[in-house]
């Protein structure tokens, strides 16, 4: 029973079909949907979700969760702005330091999760408060609170979010590379394999000599980096550095991961699914907007997809286990009957 492996290939295929169907449907309503150039260009709109959900997949595969991703985004954005504008760092240095902040935040998350036995939801809830508070504090103290933000970035920077190589936006190329790297990590490295092992059976992983703490910390570092990248990207997109950029990111990011096929309880998942699901959800928002449903309202569909996916998966897993038990029972009673027949 080649269950899990082929499930993901199946699910990816289904997602692709759904994506294609979605684009076609919206295309019927608004022609620009059928324009490839348009489609590619509009990915900038939800690039930040993709940047954050790809690494989030890693954490969820281990059976954990990270709800602080939004606050790390805001923190990275503000630090980027502060460094560039007030400390007059060159852009690239601000970029690097902001990434470093994301890495550090992820490291703190990972350290806490790996070394205390406290569950990751509670811990990242706590760090979310902390990181958000730091971001807000920093923003406020330099007068960039609320809608103001720090602005005035040069075009060389904002080009990240608007530039393209031909028809393909830079950011999209980047995220494809990122996706590919994470795919490689997950499927072809010991670290990636360890993520699955920990998610399926953490104790067995320990007994097998896997460096569980190190792996868990790494997974959170990746989400921290992804959040920082997303924060910097959004800063370029809005041409403004703000502490609240990540406010509404958690739900779409989680939905991308879960709808993409990754099990919320860990042990199974694929970045390819997250990638396609994020595209699906991103275009969904745009398509709804094209038919007059504002982004405020499109949250409803995302929320429903999130809940429905988890419920349906739960029911499916339960019935699969029931079926396994029934099969095992049949097999066993056949043996018993044969034995009695002798």
């Amino acid at each position: 029973m080649k269950l899990k492996i082929s499930f993901f290939k199946q699910w990816d295929a289904i997602l692709l079909i759904l994506l294609a169907a979605e684009i076609l449907c919206f295309g019927l309503i608004n022609e620009s949907f059928l324009n490839i150039k348009n489609l590619l260009y509009s990915t900038n709109d939800f690039m930040h979700i993709m940047l954050v959900s790809l690494p989030l997949t890693l954490v969820i595969i281990t059976g954990g969760i990270d709800v602080s991703i939004g606050s790390i985004m805001g923190l990275a954005s503000i630090i980027f702005g502060v460094l560039w504008k007030f400390l007059v760092f060159p852009l690239w240095l601000s970029f690097v330091v902001s990434l470093g902040v994301g890495l550090l935040a992820g490291f703190i998350n990972g350290l806490l999760v790996a070394y205390t036995d406290i569950n990751s939801l509670v811990l990242t809830l706590g760090t979310m408060f902390l990181f958000q508070g730091l971001a807000t504090g920093l923003a406020g103290s330099i007068g960039a609170s609320g809608y103001n933000g720090i602005g005035g970035f040069p075009e060389s920077f904002t080009n990240i979010a608007y530039g393209a190589c031909g028809a393909v936006p830079y950011a999209f190329i980047f995220v494809i590379l990122l996706g590919f790297l994470i795919f490689l990590l997950l499927n072809r490295t010991p670290l990636g394999r360890s993520l699955y092992l920990i998610g399926v059976n953490k104790n067995a992983a320990i007994f097998s000599g896997i460096k569980v703490k190190r792996v868990i910390i790494s997974s959170f570092i990746f989400t921290g980096l992804g959040s920082a990248l997303a924060g910097i990207f959004l800063t370029a997109y809005f041409t403004s550095s703000r502490s609240d950029l990540g406010k509404d990111v958690l739900m779409p990011a989680l939905t991308s991961v879960v709808f993409g096929g990754t099990s919320i309880t860990g042990g199974a998942g694929a970045v390819s699914g997250t990638f396609i699901a994020a595209l699906f959800l991103g275009y969904l928002k745009q398509g709804l907007m094209a038919i007059g449903v504002t982004s405020d309202v499109s949250q409803v569909t995302v929320g429903i997809i999130l809940i429905a996916t988890v419920i349906i998966k739960g029911i499916a897993t339960q019935s699969l286990l029931n079926r396994m038990n029934r099969l095992a029972f049949k097999k066993a009673t056949v043996l018993v009957n044969e034995h009695h027949g002798n």
Binding site: L197, V200, F207, G209
Partner: protein, 511 residues
């Protein structure tokens, strides 16, 4: 899903009967058609090793688990218990093996939680039980600071204070001292005089023979026999817990045995492993050596401390003290990883909890300990596949392919997958902890053959087993552990089943 069960009802005096109970967990059978009943006023002991299914059976009776097939008859009616609440309404209550305490509530609230009674009326009664059983402290204190013995007493009082017709006690004495056990047994006798039936799960033979009226032995999901205690001997009971081989297999094994034994006694060389005054949770002051090429059997009954010792050796017990010297080097700050790196492997007692990655392909488990070796730096699919195939062939693992999901394999094959995982790291010494538990006869044979092959290669083995016949058959030397200490040592010339059994149960003297 059920078989034709014929006429099933309660006979006179029976409080409950269970017929043909089957239970699977994720396709893995834990109970395979168990029949058992309980009569009013009796203490019915349930004896069996780890993984025999005794707890599962009682959890089904008490509504905590759902049976997959079979029938439960209470008062002549076929009943179904979808949850513990329903079972309670029929007067059936289970005192669990591990205390489930609410640390933020008082002891009293803990005890009467879920009961539909007026609290004020009950406090005297609860207090009386508490004093009677030797519970220390006030029942109005918060429960978080209770000692483990008091926690167990709390669980027992929960059972006593409820209006039950059938009381199930799952290993109630595991942390109690002599005085408390005696008080408990007095209470049980009072209950049975009132016509209450008591199921008493234990692996402690002496307690079972002291308190019970009937004994049922459970092994690997089947009831081996049910007998009146007075018509049963301890020897019978112990023997019933051990796995049985049919004649063909026995001969095959004995012939194989002859071949290996001779070789082992010839090589008596360096001590590859030296344990010096190792103490930890569940064992104290253990010292012994393992010599290169030998199979050291570590015999004992459940609770003797062997698995705890093994866990401490590979570094999973943070509180252990003492020395572990491997290949002449002291191992400090041990961890499973470090041990594997120096060539010390451990195959866990509970493969489901600690060994296998059930919902992943076989090859994932097989390669889990050597991931860095098959990568440079990307995992080589080819190496992974080859490694997995090699072990599948060598260990005779019955799987369709290396990609087959482990959950769908039989228990014996799953055990082999875990073995493969540890062996892939090429250990010089392997600790096998109950390697043939829950394993079918053919696979067991394969594992014995494997032990001999390993010996031929020069690998040293520590064999932990509760199957004393198996230990005698496979070992070059036997150590017996009892209550956390080494009780006796037997050289191969002196292997004597009865003496070893006595030592395992804490009687008799080492030779």
């Amino acid at each position: 899903m059920s078989l034709d069960l014929g006429k099933q009802t309660n006979t006179k005096g029976q409080l409950a009967s269970l017929f043909s109970i089957w239970k699977f967990f994720g396709g893995i059978p834990v109970l395979k058609g168990v029949d058992i009943d309980i009569v009013a006023g009796e203490v019915h002991a349930l004896l069996g090793g780890n993984g025999s299914g005794k707890s599962t059976l009682m959890k089904i009776l008490s509504g905590a688990y759902q049976k997959d097939s079979g029938n439960i008859i209470v008062n002549g009616q076929s009943v179904n218990f979808p949850d513990p609440q329903t079972a309670h309404s029929y007067g059936i209550y289970l005192v669990p093996q591990e205390p489930k305490i609410f640390p933020n509530m008082t002891v009293f609230d803990n005890i009467i939680c879920g009961m539909k009674v007026k609290e004020s009326a009950f406090s005297e009664r609860v207090e009386a039980y508490a004093r009677d059983l030797g519970f220390e402290g006030s029942i109005m204190d918060n429960a978080y600071s209770l000692s483990i013995a008091n926690q167990q007493l709390l669980e027992i009082i929960r059972g006593l204070v409820r209006d039950v017709r059938i009381l199930i006690l799952d290993e109630p004495t595991s942390t109690l001292a002599f005085k408390e056990v005696s008080a408990l047994f007095e209470r049980i006798k009072i209950l049975t005089k009132r016509g209450i039936g008591v199921f008493f799960i234990s692996h402690r033979i002496n307690e079972i023979f002291e308190i019970s009226d009937r004994i049922s032995v459970l092994r690997d999901g089947n009831i081996v026999f049910t007998k009146d205690t007075r018509n049963c001997t301890a020897q019978e009971a112990i023997k019933a817990m051990l796995p049985a081989l049919d004649d063909d297999e026995s001969t095959e094994i004995s012939s194989a045995k002859l071949e290996a034994k001779a070789k082992v006694t010839a090589d008596k060389s360096e001590a590859i492993l030296r344990i010096e005054h190792l103490s930890g949770y569940g064992f104290s002051d253990v010292s012994f050596s393992v010599y290169e090429g030998e199979v050291l059997g570590l015999a004992g009954v459940v609770g003797a401390g062997r698995t705890e010792l093994a866990h401490a050796v590979i570094g999973l017990d943070p509180f252990s003290r003492g020395k572990v010297v491997f290949k002449g080097v002291e191992l400090k700050n041990r961890s499973p990883l470090k041990c594997l790196e120096v060539g010390l492997g451990y195959v866990p007692e509970d493969r489901y909890l600690h060994g296998i990655f059930l919902d992943l392909p076989n090859k994932y488990t097989i390669t889990a300990a050597v991931l860095s070796q098959i990568s440079k730096p990307l995992i080589s699919k080819k190496k992974e596949e080859n490694l997995a195939r090699e072990f599948i062939k060598n260990l005779n693992i019955k799987a369709n392919s290396a990609d087959q999901i482990s959950r769908t394999l039989s228990g014996g094959n799953q055990q082999k997958v875990v073995l493969a995982k540890i062996l892939s790291a090429n250990p010089s010494l392997v600790i096998l902890d109950e390697p043939t538990r829950g394993v079918d006869a053919k696979a067991r044979l394969d594992i014995y053959k494997l032990i001999r092959e390993l010996q031929k290669k020069g690998t040293s083995i520590i064999l932990i087993s509760s199957d004393l016949q198996e230990i005698i058959q496979e070992s070059s030397r036997i150590l017996v552990m009892h209550a956390g200490r080494i009780a006796a040592e037997f050289k191969s010339s002196n292997f004597d089943l009865e003496k070893i059994t006595s030592a395992a149960f804490g009687l008799g003297v080492s030779i």
